[in-house]
Structure formats: C-alpha cells, structure tokens
Symmetry: C2
Subunit: 290 residues, 2 copies
Amino acid sequence: MKQALGIDVGGTKICASVINEKGEIITEVEKYETPKSLNGIKDIFKNIISKYENDVTSVAFATAGAVNNECSKVISSTGNLVEGYRTIEFTKLSNKPVYVENDANAAAWAEHIIGASKGMANSIMLTLGTGVGGGIILNNKLYKGKSGSAGEMHFKMYPDKRRHCTCGSYDCFEAYASGTGLKITAEEMLNDKNVTTYDVINSLKANDKKMTDVFNKWQNDILMGTIGLCNIFDPDCVVFSGSMAQFIDTDYIEKETNSQIVTQPTKILKAQAGNYSGMIGAALLALGVN
Amino acid sequence: MKQALGIDVGGTKICASVINEKGEIITEVEKYETPKSLNGIKDIFKNIISKYENDVTSVAFATAGAVNNECSKVISSTGNLVEGYRTIEFTKLSNKPVYVENDANAAAWAEHIIGASKGMANSIMLTLGTGVGGGIILNNKLYKGKSGSAGEMHFKMYPDKRRHCTCGSYDCFEAYASGTGLKITAEEMLNDKNVTTYDVINSLKANDKKMTDVFNKWQNDILMGTIGLCNIFDPDCVVFSGSMAQFIDTDYIEKETNSQIVTQPTKILKAQAGNYSGMIGAALLALGVN
C-alpha cells in the first residue's frame, strides 16, 4: 500500500506522520512548536522530510493559509505564521512529489474519504476553533475557486454591527461563530470584558441562565450561517469540526435548518476523522485517494 | 446547425422561440400571459411544441422553481405559479428530448456561453428583480447541489431584524437586495408605507438626498452579500442581471469587494445575454453547448 508523509503546519504546532492510503497513521506523530522564524520552520521541514522521504511516495502539507490550484505554494499570508512563510518553495523540499493544501480543505477531504461525509458528493465543513475554517467538497471534488482560496467563511452576519474580524473587514461569520466570537458575544451580553470562552462553556454545565443565553446566541448565529450555506449549496451535509464543535447541538441545528431552507433537507454532522484530519486529508489527496 | 425550442415559464409571462447552437433567437419570440390554471399552462405548452417540434432536436424549458438533477421535473413549488405546476411531466410533452432547467440557472449558463462571464470557469449570477435569483457556474459546469435546487440566495443578512422573506423565513439577502427589498428599505428609512421602488429610482435622477441615502443603503446591502459570496466561492466574476441590475454601480461594488475580500480579486459585471437569457441558456444546455 502506498503511503505519504503528512505534515500539518499550524500557528502553534507542526505535526508529522506517515499515512497510508486508508488514511491510517502508521508512525508515531511527531510534534513541534511552530518556530517564530522562517529558518526555524524550514529546518523542521528538512529534518522531518529527510527522516521519512525514503519510505513514502509523496510529501503532503496541510497548512494554514490559502494554497494555489497547483497545490504547490501558499498564496495568501496567514497572520498566525511568520512573515515570508509564503515564499517557501515547498516542491523543492523533497526528491519526492510534494503536495500542499490548505488545512481546512485537507480536513474536509479526510471527512469525505474516511469520516462523517463519507459517500456524500457535496459537503461543507466548518471548523470552529479560535477562528473559523471552511472546506467545500462539490461533486466529490475539493472546490478551490479561481485561485485556490475558496471556502473562506467570511460572509457578513450583521453588516451594521461593526464587530472587527481577523480578515481586516468586519461582521463576518467568523467573528461570531468562532471561539473568539463566543467570547465577544459574552462580553457584549454580560458587559464584562474579562469573561472567557472557557467561562461560558464551563457555566453551561451548571445551568447558569445568563451563560446559557450567551451560548444560545452563539449557537443561533452558527445556525443562521448554516441556513445560508444550505440554501446556496444544497449540500448533502454540513460537518462541524474543530475544538468548539463538541459543544454544538447538531440535532437542533439540523432540525432548525431543515425547517427554514428552501432547498432539500441536509444532514448536520460532527467530524469523525479525528484531530489529525488535516494531515490525513493532505496525505490522501497526495496519494490520489478519492 | 442544431436548434432547440426554448420556452421560458415565468409567473407573469410564457415566452418561446427556436434557438440555435450559437444562442441566436431564430424565430419571432412568442409571448403569452401565464394562465392561472394548470390546464391553461399545459395547453400553451402543447400549442407551442406542436408548432415547432419538427424543426428542432430538443425542447428546452427555463422555468421558475427548482428543477431536479435529471433536468426532467420541477421539485419545489414556486409561489408565482399555480398549484400543481410541479406535477407536470415535462418529458412527456414532446416526441423530442425535453430538457428542463431553473430560469436563473439557465440565464447564468447563457452568460457563461455567450455573455458577460464567457470564458470564465467560475461565476455567480445574481438576478435582481422582484425577488433575487441565483445561478452558480463552477469549473465550467452548472452547480446544482444534491437535489438540483442549489443557488438559492437566501442567506441571512441581518438575522436580528425580522424582515420577512418570500421563502417563509426572514432576513435573507433576497429580502434586502431585491426590488421589493429596496421598497421596504425605503419604507423603513422614510417612515412612509406608500413609497415605491419607482419613487426611489426616479428621485435618484433629481439627486434627492433622502432617496439617494435609501438607494445607497440598498446597494450597500448588495455589496455586503457580494463580499460573502466572493470569499466563499473565489469566483472569476459576479454577474448582475434582472430589471434592478441596471441601477447598480458595478465599478463601485468591484472596488469595494476587492478591498474587503481575503480571496483573490473578482470582476463585478452586468449581464450581456439580454432579456431572453433564460430561454437561450436552457436551449444551449439542451443542445449540449458548453
């Protein structure tokens, strides 16, 4: 069975492992803190690749930032990684073919092949973490748009509220549906600058009324965005992944979505491909598993 | 050259003409008021088809309502047409192959083949009229979703405003960006129930300050929706069509969109395939022109 070296490059961690065509992780996952310097990042890439490249048919990166349609380089910078990150010539890092994909896109592909959206031609994945990532699978293919950067979940939720968004604009879905969005919703509703995402989640268990209202507002904003995506895409499913996805009531969102959309009923699911879905999805893409 | 009979079925009018592979209208366009009865509609279909079917290789319908992925029947009712419309067995109406497509989808295809988005792989068309229609072309193919009903531009604009939408839900893009949306925005801003879309448009020419503010609010809502679609799809272009599109400043929307999106720059264009683009696009689809 063919296998690829999967390398996941995030703002805080770099992970790597050899992955086979079934999407199975077959070496212990190596983990590094993401260096603050470009050379530091390149050194980690070199070390990992030299260790494994003889055992694999290709090297697959799942990375923060948008990746071009040729899957060879990062085309838009990401605030989480050092300046100059997108100058890296990924294809020159190994003697083996190198494949690069955006981490949210790669994770959506892992769900499509081995996870929650397996067997479904059209799915949207929303990764709810500090920010919001998006991956779009249409007609059993990853949809990348004209440049490779499609799937940015920066559509306006409340274009009159002027809540700042990480994209430089304001009022985007990400600014409401992310973990950071939950904190800001809590700040606004409780008039308390010091409240944290953790405070909200933790108080839910104690049935705190105010915190439950905050959580419900956050979840309702996610529902509103989901309804729009279902009317636009008529997908087989929407998959929620990321650290914040565990708190969402997908049954509730599915019921409400299907009662409001004009397209046909959609499944709302939680991701199943695990914490390394980005690395796994990139490897599956590099191995041509579809 | 092959030719198809194109039939456009709208809430107020039914139009028909023979159309060739170049998208040229080659018989005088027949026009009928849309009957209020199902049998009345069927009778018009029969008359048109019997007159032309010997001259064409196929019969192509562009119709209100969502159409299934097999392009054979209407799957969701449309408020503008009589009850039971979707029970029509289109494929049995002629001895020739019959092809059915949603009118907004068909119009988007006409723009893709002979109009504003010609030569571009990924385009979104927004038809601004009494309501808002949507057509999505991705990777040079019409995107229809799991059931055929994709491209419904019912994503939430202001999920807290409770402006009713024709879809049965509220606060959708359609409820703001349509001609009807402009009237309601005018009602709200001017506190006048009797103001019309025509009043706003007409007063623009006279540089009326209040009406200009209303128009700018409407156009800004369209801009907000466009930014979201460009971040989601990273399209080559967004094409505005329909009776309200003529009033939009596409240069302004293009400049503002490209200053706010995180994806790569997009063209904002006005439709060029004319008033019969739905009929033409359906014929081109039926003739396999791509």
